[in-house]
């Protein structure tokens, strides 16, 4: 124990000083030296031994019973020492795992990257934050040759790495679909078959797919069991739920999806989200969906990106900065 030598002298002098004065200063010194011990991974039995030696040096005539008692204490510390070392090793392994996952998360970001497109007359805001390191939510923008904009929002039931792996598959299936099939109901029908074939039955994926047609100011959409979004009617200053029926992806290979459409007017908004938004919790209480709308309404005068950022910050704080589920919120605002 080479590292113990300078500390040993220090310990002895602190102990001596303390026995003479019982002052706080020596105790503060003891605290500092403990930090050094922990940093150098000194097991508790070594510290007890240090104490034994210091006492023997300071008081050569220590009573026999006291010396025996200290040896007894030392013996009881051995198993603590092993537990301490084990803890140390497990902690190292944990940090290795964490950095491996960080690499994977990084890779996922690259794989699933999507850029928010610039569409005349449509203000878009997006925020997507994973609860843990890897995101089980997914969103994607596709601009078609006809100028239409496709927006996918999906959520794997479950979190973390399995969910994230699943999402990579969804993304590549979507990429491989031919352009002309980019209608919401066709896309969901195709993805449904991919998920049914490739994902084990215990895993469910929900998706909302919307297609915005700038020329008509129209939005078409279909949902595969996804958390309903909201439509904001500017003229009536009113939110309503976007109702769209459809089975979760991967359950029945022959499912057909219904397609809905709606014309957007100036100032109207479409809000797409995952259940990480609507199932925010304050303490043990799930928030009500009216509360989500209240918060959205509070920031609705802002630009779409500012708006989603502010809403996210609000809920992040509400949940003490610890998300329980991946959080994705997309806002489309029709400007003209």
């Amino acid at each position: 124990m080479e590292t113990l030598k300078p500390d040993a002298a220090n310990y002895q002098s602190l102990l001596k000083h303390y026995i003479a004065t019982q002052d706080e200063h020596s105790l503060y010194g003891a605290e500092q030296i403990t930090k050094q011990f922990i940093k150098n991974n000194i097991p508790p039995e070594e510290i007890v031994n240090l104490h034994i030696q210091a006492m023997a040096a300071l008081y050569p005539d220590l009573p026999e019973y006291f010396r025996h008692s200290m040896k007894f204490l030392l013996e009881t510390m051995i198993s603590y020492g092993i537990a301490h070392q084990e803890y140390h090793t497990l902690r190292e392994q944990q940090s290795e795992l964490k950095s491996e996952i960080a690499v994977a998360a990084n890779m996922q970001d690259t794989l699933l990257a999507t850029t928010k497109p610039a569409i005349d007359g449509l203000d878009i805001g997006v925020v997507s934050v994973p609860a843990h390191q890897m995101n089980g939510d997914y969103h994607h923008f596709v601009t078609g040759e006809d100028g239409s904009l496709g927006i996918a929002v999906a959520d794997v039931i479950g979190k973390g790495i399995p969910a994230a792996l699943c999402m990579s598959m969804i993304k590549y299936s979507m990429d491989s679909l031919p352009e002309r099939t980019m209608r919401p109901q066709t896309i969901l029908k195709n993805l449904n078959r991919v998920v049914e074939r490739n994902v084990e039955s215990s895993m469910f994926i929900t998706m909302f797919y919307a297609q915005y047609l700038p020329a008509d100011g129209k939005i078409r959409y279909s949902s595969a069991g996804h958390e309903p979004g909201f439509y904001y009617n500017a003229r009536e200053n009113r939110f309503e739920e976007i109702k769209a029926k459809g089975l979760v992806l991967g359950v029945d290979p022959d499912t057909d999806y219904r397609q809905y459409e709606r014309v957007l007017h100036q100032g109207d908004m479409v809000i797409l989200l995952t259940d990480g938004v609507t199932e925010c919790r304050q303490g043990d209480r799930f928030i009500e969906s009216e509360e989500v709308l209240d918060v959205i309404a509070r920031f609705s005068h802002l630009q779409a990106q500012d708006m989603v950022d502010k809403v996210y910050k609000h809920f992040e704080r509400l949940q003490n900065f610890r998300l329980r589920d991946d959080f994705t919120l997309i806002v489309l605002k029709k400007e003209v």
């Binding site: 039995e45 031994n49 510390m77 198993s79 070392q85 084990e86 392994q93």
Partner: protein, 135 residues
Amino acid sequence: MTMDLQSCVTIEKEWDIVKARQLGREVAQKAGFGTVDQARIATAISELARNIYLYTDGGKLCFEIIDNVEQKGISMLSVDNGPGIEDISQVMEDGYSTSGGLGAGLPGVKRLVDQFDIQSEKGKGTEIRAVKWVR
């Protein structure tokens, strides 16, 4: 290399664990180990002996002083005719035995000594050799 005569303890009853500790500690003392290392050796012996006591029909622990030109130490040999360990990697994993509160387990023994070797054959038994050097 010169070696003392081996001293062994047969492990059948829980009391034999104490005997093994006692004998091991005496050998360690003779080899010149300090107080802390003596305590560590006793703890390692406890773990080895407890494994024999709990999981086999019997076995023994033998100690000897190793004294070669460079260093001095103690060798602890644990031999049993138990069921053997099927997955050694698993029992050597941290947290495998400790999670049930069973004690330090074999990884603990490995940490307490300088050299550790284990061989096991299913149905035949297990042999563990642990060596610790005087610092």
